[in-house]
């Protein structure tokens, strides 16, 4: 390789040295600073700003609260006392009371919480600062048992897998459509996905606010949002060169993007159920059915002119729907706002890439362009469908 670009071994050594030099300088400066530097200038006599995030409060049993706290701040934090509903309460901690930077602890409190009523946990640090978390509705946290797994497998099945497969039943209908109407449905798909993507991004940004500061929630969202389409684009280019992607590939991408979105949604549902914020009602399932049936349609739209086997359809449906189940399982037991935000962001990022690939499926030119009136109508109709099904669900 060196020969091909005309770079000699000596040149290469020099380049490497030049690259490493600033790093060496940085290391030397850090060592000198730590050894001789006026470090005292940067530490006042005032208490350091403490940052403690209660990521999760669970109610594993009657009369027991369990608090998961993460130190996302610049300095160690010592949890000195625990208040529950404005009362000092006994508790145990699964480690030293001083929580190092980026470390976490689990605190168990024997507190007789009242079913169906809120409960507020407050951690008091050694400097007297307080960190709070409210459980909006105290409900016993489901144990990771067969019953829970079954419940969420069923929910994922109803909300993720079944509607996607129902949507796939539109395949014969779509195959018989003229090119004009196929483009209409492609546009509709793009509209659906854009709506879903913005929804996912909004969730990701909202959740990122709950992430301990050191973990930079918004940074995670950015990584997921931008990194995902770039990686997908690079992978796609490697597979097929620079031309338009194959319809099957685009459909796979759509299913993957929807699956990632549903993984985030599953995480959120599982966590919300586990923390008593939602009840799993039949209305919830109906809402998912309505929302996610359109997802099946979206997966199909790129495939209308392709040879499609039942096996492929099954794979696509599972890819899009099953992550809901997996997400709900994980979310119910070890919920972390950071991971959920990241998955939502990855889902949104995947949708960005899908939109790019969808756009390339349009033949281009004056008449068949994305901006053709029928296609614009399709795009708007897609967003409108998502909006209206959302309205129905909240009604």
């Amino acid at each position: 390789m060196a020969d091909a670009t005309g770079v000699t071994r000596r040149d290469r050594t020099r380049i490497w040295l030049a690259a490493v030099l600033p790093l060496v300088a940085l290391l030397v400066f850090l060592l000198l600073f730590l050894r001789f530097g006026p470090a005292g200038v940067f530490t006042g006599s005032f208490p350091p700003v403490e940052e403690l995030t209660i990521t999760r409060v669970t109610l594993p049993d009657r009369g027991v609260l369990r608090v998961h706290a993460v130190n996302g701040g610049p300095a160690p934090v010592t949890v000195a006392q625990v208040l529950v509903d404005d009362a000092s309460w006994v508790h145990t901690i699964d480690g030293p009371r001083t929580i190092g930077r980026l470390e976490s602890r689990e605190i168990t409190i024997p507190y007789p919480w009242v079913e169906g009523e809120p409960v507020v946990v407050r951690l008091v640090t050694s400097t007297g600062l307080t960190f709070d978390k409210e459980v909006a509705v105290a409900v016993r946290t489901p144990a990771p048992d067969a019953r829970y797994l079954t419940t969420f497998a069923l929910l994922g099945l109803y909300a993720g897998v079944v509607p996607v497969f129902i949507g796939l039943l539109w395949f014969p209908f779509l195959r018989d459509l003229s090119q004009k109407w196929i483009e209409f449905f492609l546009s509709l798909t793009a509209g659906l996905l854009l709506f879903l993507g913005v929804d996912a991004l909004a969730e990701a940004v909202e959740l990122s606010a709950l992430v301990p500061a050191a973990f930079q929630g918004l940074g995670l969202v950015l990584l997921g949002l931008v990194g995902t389409p770039l990686v997908l684009a690079a992978v796609g280019r490697r597979r097929r060169g620079s031309g338009p992607a194959s319809p099957v590939y685009v459909a796979m991408l759509v299913a993957l993007a929807i699956g990632l979105h549903n993984l985030g949604e599953g995480l959120a549902i599982g966590a919300a159920y586990a923390s008593g914020e939602i009840a799993l009602g039949s209305f919830l399932v109906i809402g998912f059915l309505l929302h996610n049936t359109t997802e099946g349609l979206a997966i199909l739209a790129p495939l209308t002119r392709s040879r499609v086997t039942l096996g492929l359809l099954a794979v696509l449906g599972l890819l899009a729907g099953v992550p809901t189940i997996v997400g709900a399982w994980i979310g119910g037991f070890t919920y972390s706002p950071g991971w959920t935000a990241l998955f939502f962001a990855i889902g949104a990022g995947a949708i960005v890439q899908v939109l790019v690939e969808l756009a390339r499926l349009f033949p281009g030119g004056e008449k068949g362009s994305i901006a053709a009136p029928l296609n614009v109508a399709g795009f708007l109709a897609g967003m409108l469908i998502m909006y209206l099904t959302g309205l129905l669900v909240t009604a």
């Binding site: 079913e115 640090t125 909006a136 069923l154 959302g390």
Partner: protein, 356 residues
């Protein structure tokens, strides 16, 4: 059932919902799938200590035992001992003036230090003589008091005594800057239970950081002999949000519940109670299994009331006298449950045989 369970957490800024409000509303609607587990759990009851329950439990954790509602651990520092404070009275350096009048001289220094208000919780306090509350100053009506005050803090301070004295001895306008001194001199009157505190603005900050103490002027004829205890009701806003996180008598949350005050059967007890709680307008003193004779401000030798609960405003104080006819543990606490549960709970343990 669903209606109650799915109540939206409106109006609470503590709530950090896992889901957006839209979703919470969307999903928190009627119907039940997989809700059986939720429905079977029944309401928890935190029962009081039943008759016959021993002190060391008898009730499972998380089921309302008074031993669960408690600060964890012991004090790490040894700078302030609430048990010693209870019975420590500072009578000053005593001498006689040429007129024969008793002279009592006190040295009081304002300093800044860390005060452990609950095990492991350190409050950046300002106090007199390195303690909160400051030393209990005690004298007899008509004594000449000479209080040498030195401000070793970084902010201006004063000592404002309640009682009769000239205007320039009032500690309101003669502000003593850091590193400066001032001598307060006046004759002790009227007899009763009073207080002293810093009167520098901002008052809330100077008071709640700990610049206060009890000030007892005994009547010339004295009071009947009794076991005498000083209890200064106070609170600490450890996170400076204008609300106390810790309540106590004599600064340390739950100290006298963990280290009960031992009394003898029939032993006459006199408690000097001063309310120096900041932020909350009132505090109270409730005694279990007993009633006390209440002397408001201690300025009258006949009692005002026979009660088991007294409400005291900020700066208000009272002398309580009682004795126990029953052995065993008896709680005393603020009858504001919140204060009681945040530290203002203590315990007498009465043991036989009876005195006298």
């Amino acid at each position: 059932m669903s209606d109650q369970k799915n109540r939206a957490p409106e109006g609470s800024d503590l709530v950090a919902p896992v889901m957006s409000r839209r979703q919470a509303v969307k999903w928190g609607t009627l119907g039940t799938v997989g809700l059986a587990a939720v429905g079977t759990a029944c309401v928890q009851r935190g029962g009081p200590l039943a008759a016959g329950d021993t002190l060391k439990g008898g009730l499972a954790p998380g089921h309302g035992s008074h031993h669960d509602m408690m600060a964890v651990g012991e004090l790490r520092g040894d700078s302030f001992d609430p048990t010693a404070f209870l019975t420590h009275f500072d009578y000053g350096r005593v001498s006689s003036l040429p007129s024969g009048q008793t002279l009592r001289e006190y040295d009081i220094e304002a300093t800044e230090f860390e005060l452990e208000v609950a095990p492991g919780v350190f409050f950046p306090a300002w106090g007199y003589n390195g303690q909160v509350p400051g030393p209990t100053i005690r004298c007899t009506e008509g004594d000449r008091l000479r209080v040498h005050f030195t401000n070793s803090g970084t902010h201006p301070h004063t000592i404002h005594f309640h009682g009769f004295h000239p205007a320039n001895m009032d500690g309101a306008f003669e502000v003593v800057g850091p590193g400066r001194s001032y001598t307060y001199e006046f004759d002790a009157a009227p007899f009763g239970l009073h207080l002293y505190h810093c009167h520098t603005v901002p008052l809330k900050r100077h008071m709640h950081k700990g610049l206060y103490g009890a000030f007892i002027i005994d009547p010339r004829e004295g009071r009947p002999p009794a076991r005498e205890l000083v209890m200064v009701m106070n609170g600490f806003d450890t996170n400076f949000d204008g609300d106390n996180e810790v309540y106590a008598v004599n600064s340390v949350a739950f100290h006298y519940q963990k280290h009960p005050i031992e009394l003898r059967l029939g032993e006459p007890v006199r408690v000097y109670v001063v309310n120096l709680t900041e932020f909350d307008p009132i505090n109270s003193f409730h005694l279990h299994g007993n009633f006390y004779r209440l002397y408001r401000t201690g300025t009258n030798l006949t009692h005002h009331e026979f009660t088991d609960n007294v409400m005291l405003c900020q700066g208000e104080r009272a002398i309580l006298e009682f004795s126990y006819d029953h052995e065993g543990p008896f709680l005393f606490h603020a009858h504001q449950s919140e204060f009681a549960e945040l530290g203002w709970t203590g315990m007498f343990v009465v043991r036989g045989p009876a005195v006298g």
